[in-house]
């Protein structure tokens, strides 16, 4: 085994150990009956539930729905938010109009709009997606705005001196230069997307993992509930990790010193 591989495996093991310790603690607590199995199903019971759900494909279907909702919300947020943030940074008029609107709605937790959307659209999936879109818009617009604003003017001037027309300037200079900030906003928006999707599914109980969690909790099938919770939490983690990988590749040109923690 090469030294590098050894180090990577060792590093991974070192990072996993605290989690394994917690899992062991969990198992110990249930086995020793320190906690009422009503409140904390054993690791085994949860795994059983997992297996069951996987067999029936339930877990995959509902997870898929949740992912679709969160994904659609995120993508829509990007498609609307990036141009909006860019326009606001480049046009005083746009900034003057949208800025106060954004500042005003900033303090409202967008998940609070879910009941309102239910009033408007009923319990269809559109409610969930709409709530997600509105939630992802905010960080994306804000980070895009700051990213575009922060593009050093020497980049713009150099490009203009080389004869870059305005549309090309936006596409080839401003957006790439703002990309690190935009991707940070996307990462935050991804986290929000999961949160709001789950929240909507729990409140509206139409479909998705949130619905599963809520229904299992309501009916007392706690090991199933835990299984569903762990599923979505792990999925969100993996999604975030994948986004980080993608970001690292897209931004491979970035000077390490400029990267944020």
């Amino acid at each position: 085994m090469s030294k590098g591989l050894q180090e990577t495996l060792f590093g991974a093991a070192a990072r996993l150990t605290p989690i394994l310790i917690c899992l062991a603690l969990w198992q110990a607590v249930t086995s020793l009956h320190v906690a009422d199995p009503e409140f904390l199903p054993s690791v085994g019971a949860v795994l059983e539930a997992f297996y069951d759900l996987a067999k029936e494909k339930t877990i995959f279907v509902e997870l898929g729905v949740s992912l679709l909702t969160a994904g659609a919300g995120l993508v829509s947020g990007i498609l609307i938010g990036v141009p909006l943030g860019a326009v606001m940074a480049l046009s005083k008029g746009a900034d003057g109009f949208f800025g106060p609107l954004i500042k005003a709605t900033y303090s409202l937790p967008k998940s609070a709009l879910i009941p309102l959307f239910v009033l408007w659209f009923g319990v269809g999936g559109i409610t969930n997606v709409l709530a997600t879109v509105l939630t992802t818009l905010l960080p994306i617009v804000i980070y895009t705005y700051h990213g575009v604003q922060g593009v050093p003017r020497v980049f713009v001037w150099s490009a203009q001196a080389m004869g870059t027309p305005p549309a090309t300037l936006l596409r080839r200079i401003i957006l790439p230069a703002a990309l690190p900030a935009i991707l940070t906003g996307v990462r935050i928006a991804l986290g929000f997307a999961f949160i709001v999707t789950i929240a909507a599914e729990m409140i509206v109980s139409n479909h998705g993992i949130g619905k599963l969690i809520f229904l299992y909790g309501d009916s007392g099938a706690y090991n199933y509930m835990f299984a569903a919770v762990i599923t979505i939490v792990s999925t969100a983690f993996v999604a975030d990790w994948l986004l980080q990988l993608a970001t690292a590749h897209i931004l491979r040109w970035q000077d390490k010193a400029e990267q944020h923690a």
């Binding site: 001037w157 150099s158 203009q160 001196a161 040109w253």
Partner: protein, 259 residues
């Protein structure tokens, strides 16, 4: 005496005010094609402002600027610029950076490939084509920045303290490279620099700017022969003589600004 129309760059009565600060006052300057003009002066005298107005990035408050007889209103492909921090696009590789101006000019793919390859070898960065700027040293980045601007062939080159961030040895090497590029391409260069010695070494004309608000108070025509080695030129009495005169001029302005 050459007529105004045959001058590459004409500056008349140029002034620039930022809010309540007068940066530059009543500048008159003509630059002939093929000239290498350096502008020196104390910090904050407005020399970069003057350069940016030549580039069309800032508009004057009064007076006018002409390039090839046409008024300068905005940046254009006839005037290339190299900034002190090179402003290489960090998300593009070396060869993509150099190719950029040519792409804006809509040159053919083959022409771009050929020109880029030529300049890469001219600046001696063969093997680094696919590297990103973050992987290059200061001197290398500087070379790419110069190559990028020379490659798409603007007649006029504006340099804003291009060697300011380099150590003195790299700086000397780059100065000679710049000289070589200038001589083989016959561009008109306007350079802003802090370094009086550099200005005298490279230029055909050196303009000294006063402290703020900047005016051109003295102009020196340099007639150094660069056929000899750098050592011979730098150690020659002609060079030393002019350099001392210019330095003293600038020094007086520096003291006046501080006093």
């Amino acid at each position: 005496m050459q007529g105004v129309d045959s001058c590459k760059i004409v500056i008349e009565g140029l002034s620039k005010r930022f809010d309540d600060v007068l940066a530059v006052e009543n500048i008159d300057l003509t630059i002939t094609a093929g000239d290498f003009v350096s502008i020196v002066g104390p910090s904050g005298c407005g020399k970069s402002t003057l350069l940016y107005m030549l580039g069309g990035f800032i508009s004057p408050t009064a007076g006018r600027l002409l390039a090839d007889g046409k008024t300068i209103v905005k940046p254009g492909i006839d005037r290339g610029i190299v900034f002190q921090d090179y402003a290489l696009f960090p998300w593009l590789t070396v060869e993509q950076n150099i190719a950029y101006g040519l792409q804006m000019k809509k040159s053919s793919r083959d022409e771009i490939k050929e020109t880029v390859a030529r300049y890469i070898s001219v600046i001696g960065l063969g093997g680094f084509e696919k590297r990103y700027p973050r992987e290059l040293s200061g001197g290398m980045r500087q070379r790419v920045a110069l190559a990028r601007t020379f490659a798409y062939g603007p007649d006029i080159l504006l340099l804003d303290e291009p060697f300011g961030a380099l150590d003195s040895q790299t700086r000397e090497i780059m100065q000679d490279e710049l000289l070589r590029l200038w001589r083989t391409t016959n561009k008109t260069i306007v350079m802003v620099t802090h370094d009086v010695g550099e200005a005298v070494y490279l230029s055909t004309k050196v303009c000294v700017m006063s402290k703020r608000p900047g005016r051109i108070i003295e102009t020196y025509t340099i007639a150094l022969q660069h056929t000899e080695s750098r050592e011979a030129v730098v150690l020659s009495p002609q060079y030393t003589d002019v350099r001392n005169k210019v330095w003293l001029s600038v020094r007086r302005q520096v003291l006046a600004a501080a006093g």
